[in-house]
């Protein structure tokens, strides 16, 4: 990859590359700051804009939206006590009290500095870990791939929010949706019920936009809608001085490590990392009694960890083609739309593109500092917008996004039905990330299982004899399923 680094850098530092990074990061910050949009919806609604772009600018734009939106969530968390993204929920705990006592600029300064450091470290993790993991996975055949996807799915289900059973059911629903349409081996139509539009299967992005963005509109419509929020006085970001950092660097390093570690695990996500990091900081900080009353240590813990997750979450996505969460599932779908097959061969087949992605992701996190300072002042007035305006705009953007993927009116109907179905399921505690990830991984799971069985003359037991990696991965998958059951049993006992 080092041989092709000049070409990769040329992709980033060309006019288009730089414009995409600047615009994408700024837009990501604004979208992340708007409560109710969140990183997944932000990435999903920006997706249609990438369809007319080349591979590298399209992926860089979505990465910029992703990293920008995770940081942007801290703006509304601090200024109006409403996290723009779930990842910033822990930021409210100390950010809002600081804003209330007139230190909104300084609170955002701490959040921005911690986010930039967390994000940069996560970019390093992505650059170092993804090629190693992909190189290891190059030896995988269909049996190992099957076991790996099984492990990925169980990981995601067992650690996702809500009950294990509902998570599993959502994952299985996603696997089923992936089977609708032509059989990948024989080409025969399955579950199309005479509808020719279904022969190509459900459009993944129509389902993703439906279950995440449109269902969010309906959930918000079902709840008490916010009027224009009261925004704390804010005249721009004030960065903390070097001396103010003294005594806090250890906590920052610990938060970054927590975020990096959790990010690589499929399914856990930035919100979990932020809360774990916050709890650890409160336990270890010499200023623990100030937590919840505007303590910068709390802000650092939350923001460093949630941004440190971003690069880690991209490691299994890029290296193995297994998305770690809903956002990376959307990214994976986008890569596929642009003719890129994520997974073990991506690093060796497209070194220029991968180099651009790695270097671009580092640059995006570096840009968070100046852009955060500039854009947060513009984003603050937007927080006064009524929620109703945003909900209508999001619905229109959803329709535009789905229409542009294939130009097929049937996809619009799929999006609407997925939105209504997602709304009903989410209200009852069914997580949607396993559904989407099941749908993304379903075709590969099916093909690897069937190819494996053909290779072993139909013997499933042979999957584990002579395939130590598959055996290890399958045992890990079993353990991931057994762990929550064991915990539940211990609690009840």
């Amino acid at each position: 990859m080092l041989d092709t680094l000049p070409q990769s850098l040329a992709l980033i530092f060309g006019l288009e590359g730089l414009m995409v990074l600047l615009f994408g990061t700024a837009l990501g910050i604004v979208l992340g700051a708007l409560p109710g949009i969140g990183s997944t919806v932000a990435v999903a609604i920006v997706l249609p804009f990438t369809l007319g772009m080349g591979q590298a600018p399209a992926i860089l734009l979505l990465l910029a939206i992703y990293a920008g939106s995770v940081y942007g969530g801290s703006i509304s968390a601090i200024l109006i006590n409403t996290p723009g993204t779930p990842q910033s929920a822990a930021t409210c705990l100390d950010g809002f009290p600081m804003a209330k006592r007139g230190e909104a600029g300084l609170a955002l300064g701490w959040a921005t500095s911690a986010s930039v450091i967390g994000g940069l470290c996560s970019a390093v993790v992505l650059i170092l870990a993804a090629p190693q993991l992909a190189a290891f996975a190059l030896n995988f055949g269909p049996i190992e791939t099957f076991a790996l996807i099984l492990l990925g799915l169980t990981c995601i289900v067992s650690v996702s929010e809500g009950s294990l059973l509902k998570g599993l059911l959502a994952g299985v629903l996603g696997l089923f949706l992936a089977t609708v349409g032509g059989d990948p081996i024989t080409g025969e139509a399955r579950f199309t019920f005479g509808q020719f539009q279904l022969i190509a299967g459900f459009n993944l992005l129509a389902v993703v936009i439906g279950v995440f963005a449109l269902s969010e509109v309906l959930i918000r419509a079902a709840s008490t809608l916010d009027q224009a929020a009261g925004v704390n006085a804010f005249r721009g970001i004030v960065l903390p001085s070097w001396s103010a950092w003294r005594g806090r660097l250890g906590g920052l390093a610990k938060s970054v490590l927590i975020g990096n570690g959790i990010g690589v695990l499929p399914g856990t996500g930035a919100a979990t990392a932020a809360f774990i990091s916050y709890a650890e900081a409160r336990r270890a900080s010499p200023r623990r009694e100030n937590f919840g009353r505007g303590e910068p240590d709390g802000l650092i813990a939350s923001e460093a960890a949630n941004n440190a997750v971003t690069g880690g979450a991209l490691v299994p996505t890029m290296a193995l083609g297994i998305p770690g969460d809903a956002i990376t599932a959307v990214m994976l779908a986008t890569l596929t739309l642009h003719g890129i097959t994520p997974g073990v061969r991506l690093m060796s087949d497209q070194p220029v593109l991968m180099g651009a992605i790695f270097a671009g992701f580092f640059l995006i996190n570096l840009m968070l500092l100046p852009l955060g300072m500039a854009v947060s002042r513009l984003a603050a007035p937007l927080l006064r917008l009524r929620e109703a305006y945003m909900l209508v705009t999001i619905t229109l953007l959803c329709a535009v996004g789905v229409y542009f993927v294939r130009g097929n009116p049937f996809d619009l109907l799929v999006m609407a039905l997925a939105g209504i179905g997602g709304f009903l399921l989410r209200r009852q505690g069914y997580p949607m990330a396993p559904l989407v990830i099941g749908m993304v991984l379903g075709p590969t799971l099916e093909i690897s299982l069937r190819q494996g069985l053909i290779l072993t003359d139909g013997s499933f037991a042979a999957f584990f004899s002579g395939h130590p990696i598959a055996l290890g991965l399958s045992l890990a998958a079993l353990a991931m399923l057994a762990l929550p059951l064991y915990r539940a049993w211990r609690r009840s006992a």
């Binding site: 007319g52 059973l165 929620e387 305006y389 535009v400 069937r450």
Partner: protein, 150 residues
């Protein structure tokens, strides 16, 4: 016994899975290929797991009784109907007109009572999107037989 919305959703999932499993296991129209070669091999496994999980899920949800959220408010239902109508009208009416109509219906449902604001937003957001996609990005949105000049 009061059946909660949660149990109702669980029941729909079970019945849906059962119906699909009936189709999958009873399908005779597929090429007679055995084992892993059969197009229904993988869906049958998935549906069997679906049925088992949905059954346990229903039992647990029924045991919980009427806990969980009550039926969604009428507003969410009306917005859902408006979204369904919108996606159906998007191609025949074109993006601009269908979006204006959707915004005019949805904004009052979402509590906006200021008529000039409804009119302004209903025209401005679709108009801005048409300007951006049709004229700046050269990615045309569905056109209307009535406002083709947009």
């Amino acid at each position: 016994m009061v059946v909660s919305e949660r149990a109702l959703v669980a029941l729909v999932l079970l019945l849906g899975g059962a119906g699909l499993a009936y189709t999958a296991y009873g399908s005779g129209g597929f090429a007679d290929l055995g084992g892993a070669f059969s197009p229904m091999f993988f869906p049958r496994i998935v549906l069997a797991v679906w049925l088992a999980l949905a059954l346990v899920n229903l039992v647990l949800d029924l045991r919980q009784g009427a806990e969980g959220p009550t039926l969604p408010p009428l507003r969410a239902g009306l917005i859902a109907v408006a979204v369904l109508a919108y996606v159906q009208l998007l191609i025949p009416l074109g993006f601009f007109l269908a979006s204006v109509a959707f915004a005019v219906v949805a904004l009052p449902l979402l509590g906006v009572r200021n008529i000039p604001m409804i009119a302004a937003l209903a025209l401005a957001v679709p108009g801005a999107l048409v300007a951006l996609f049709n004229h700046t990005l050269a990615m045309p949105l569905p056109t209307s037989p009535f406002v083709w000049w947009l």
